[in-house]
């Protein structure tokens, strides 16, 4: 039977505040254990939470970024469960009235087509601490530095249909939140963690199948692998006439498989109730409007603009609008050289290629946007060929100066002097009499192929610097 995959994602996004959501402790990553855990974070008796305005602002920014309804009166609730890295015995979260309601989100897929993904809601909550299960004489170690870090949990509708779509959504979400500047989006440091709800149904069926939830997957690659694995597992069960159990599973990256969590690890009866230590959060219209005014151009808008304004393909526009620094760099190159298509090509192929090989961010590129624009100007005015330009770029990357300086210092300027070119063409004709005879004996169609040999010889003689168009013209004149 043909199965359709149905996926919904819950992303826990760490917000880029300086201090925690309910206390004045710092949120710096990688500090010594428990040096950033205050009395509030440790749940000392009598401590009270006070909500961080920046966390509220970031949540509203996200809501506006996906065109969602903002909860003007939102409520915090207690989610009750026992675990040592949660000292209060409950997590402060939002259940009934989240800060961000329904929204929609456009995602571009690999093939350039787009899909709208529904966002059910997004709510503010606090992170838990970290449990370390290495051997501390048969005990576990608890680090509460992360306890109280603000999270925005973003929940999608079951709108995703494949691992590839799920990854495309996560990449687009990553792009959006880093554009907004509400999260550093650093996956390796756990700034974006993902729970995956996944079920199968016969193709064409309306009803959803029973779903399994895979907890806490923290990289795009693992999301893709975990989904592929889980789809296969569920399909096998259904093909054999079995039923999928509704359960929570863990993805094990080392074994590339999902396994059920131990029943002890599952405590789904959270007994939510309104948090009595926090009052309702009321968000005024003018607060929302001021934030709306301050939003930057978002990735989807930028992508569409790149396609319209610069005539880029959907794919190129998507790559170049992925991050704000990359988009800004690209636009600066276009401004410098005036040709968006060549600029798009150079940024994507040569520049991103070098950056990836050297594991550098665009912000740390040794070749500035102005410098790259200057190089492209020299291709456009025929001072150098595209091939020589790569050589110049290499030298610029090594810090040997601007395009003009490198071209000058290495004597790479394209030879367009007809006298010099004529001498070279004459020399090639004189040294290759056999090929000349062959050429003269050939018909028109074959000549077109054979002339390439002579062009190649002239280019070789000029160390690649001859103006190819002029060489062609000269050869046509001389080979008669």
């Amino acid at each position: 039977m043909q199965w359709e995959t149905v996926i919904g994602l819950e992303v826990h996004l760490q917000l880029a505040t300086r201090s925690k959501i309910f206390s004045g402790s710092p949120t710096t990553f990688g500090a010594e254990p428990n040096t950033q855990a205050s009395a509030v974070d440790l749940a000392m008796p009598g401590m009270l939470p006070v909500l961080n305005e920046q966390a509220v602002r970031y949540a509203v920014m996200f809501g506006l970024g996906i065109g969602a309804e903002i909860g003007k009166r939102s409520i915090f609730d207690r989610k009750n469960y026992f675990y040592p890295d949660l000292p209060k015995g409950y997590q402060i979260s939002q259940f009934q009235d989240p800060i961000v309601g329904r929204g929609r989100f456009e995602v571009q897929l690999e093939d350039g087509s787009t899909r709208e993904i529904g966002i059910t809601r997004a709510h503010l909550e606090e992170d838990a601490g970290k449990s370390l299960h290495e051997d501390f004489h048969g005990m576990s170690g608890i680090d509460l530095n992360r306890a109280g870090t603000p999270l925005l949990e973003i929940v999608t509708e079951p709108d995703l249909r494949s691992a590839a779509e799920a990854v495309a959504y996560l990449k687009a979400l990553h792009s959006l939140v880093t554009y907004l500047g509400i999260s550093d989006g650093n996956m390796a440091e756990g700034s974006m963690r993902c729970d995956i709800n996944i079920s199968l149904r016969p193709s064409g069926s309306e009803a959803y199948g029973t779903r399994a939830e895979i907890k806490n997957v923290n990289s795009f690659r693992f999301v893709e692998k975990a989904i592929r694995h889980e789809v296969e597992r569920q399909a096998d069960i259904l093909e054999d006439g079995g039923t999928v159990a509704q359960e929570t599973r863990l993805y094990d990256a080392d074994l590339d498989e999902t396994r059920p969590m131990r029943s002890k690890e599952v405590a789904n009866d959270y007994r939510y109730f309104p948090e009595p230590d926090l009052l309702p959060v009321v968000i005024a219209d003018d607060y929302i409007e001021a934030i709306r005014e301050s939003l930057p151009e978002l990735p989807t808008d930028k992508r569409h603009r790149f396609m319209e304004q610069y005539g880029l393909s959907a794919y190129d526009a998507n790559v170049l609008s992925d991050t704000r620094p990359l988009a800004d760099y690209f636009e600066a190159v276009v401004a410098g050289c005036g040709d968006a298509k060549i600029a798009a090509n150079w940024v994507q192929v040569e520049l991103l290629g070098q950056l990836n090989r050297n594991e550098l961010d665009i912000e740390h590129s040794p070749v500035s946007a102005d410098a790259l624009g200057g190089l492209i100007v020299r291709i456009l005015d025929n001072s150098i060929s595209g091939k020589i330009a790569k050589q110049v770029f290499e030298a610029m990357w090594q810090g040997e100066g601007s395009a003009d300086e490198v071209i000058e210092a290495k004597g790479l300027k394209q030879v367009s002097d007809s006298g010099a070119l004529e001498t070279m063409v004459d020399e090639v004709i004189a040294n290759n009499s056999a090929q000349v005879e062959q050429y003269l004996a050939a018909d028109e169609a074959r000549r077109k192929k054979l002339v390439g040999f002579f062009v190649g010889q002239v280019m070789k003689l000029s160390k690649g610097q001859a103006n190819p168009q002029m060489v062609n013209e000269l050869l046509a004149k001389k080979l008669v």
Binding site: R18, G24, L42, L51, G138, S140, G141, I142, L279
Partner: protein
């Protein structure tokens, strides 16, 4: 609304409260009494009443995003039963 003894046992487990076997019948009966009172309250017509999340007629003040706490690990850990390398030690949570 009545509550069954096995539900009381489940709630006790979720709340990590131990109830002795010879007490559980009594606890079940007393909680059932409380639920009868809730039944009475629920009989009131609340169609035009907005749900109340907090009894105070006030809204949440917000604080500026500033670091105001310094590291007081030593003081906090001085009263912890077991610490090592800056970590709080607790009975092993996974086997």
């Amino acid at each position: 609304m009545a509550i069954e003894q096995d539900e009381i046992e489940k709630i006790a487990e979720l709340a990590r409260i131990r109830i002795d076997a010879d007490h559980i019948g009594d606890v079940t009966r007393r909680i059932t009494d409380i639920l009868h009172m809730v039944d009475q309250l629920q009989a009131a017509d609340t169609r035009d009443v907005e749900p109340m999340a907090n009894p105070l007629d006030a809204t949440q003040p917000l604080r500026a995003d500033e670091v105001t706490e310094s590291n007081r690990r030593e003081a906090f850990q001085a009263i912890a039963p077991a610490v090592e390398n800056g970590l709080y030690l607790v009975p092993k949570v996974i086997e």
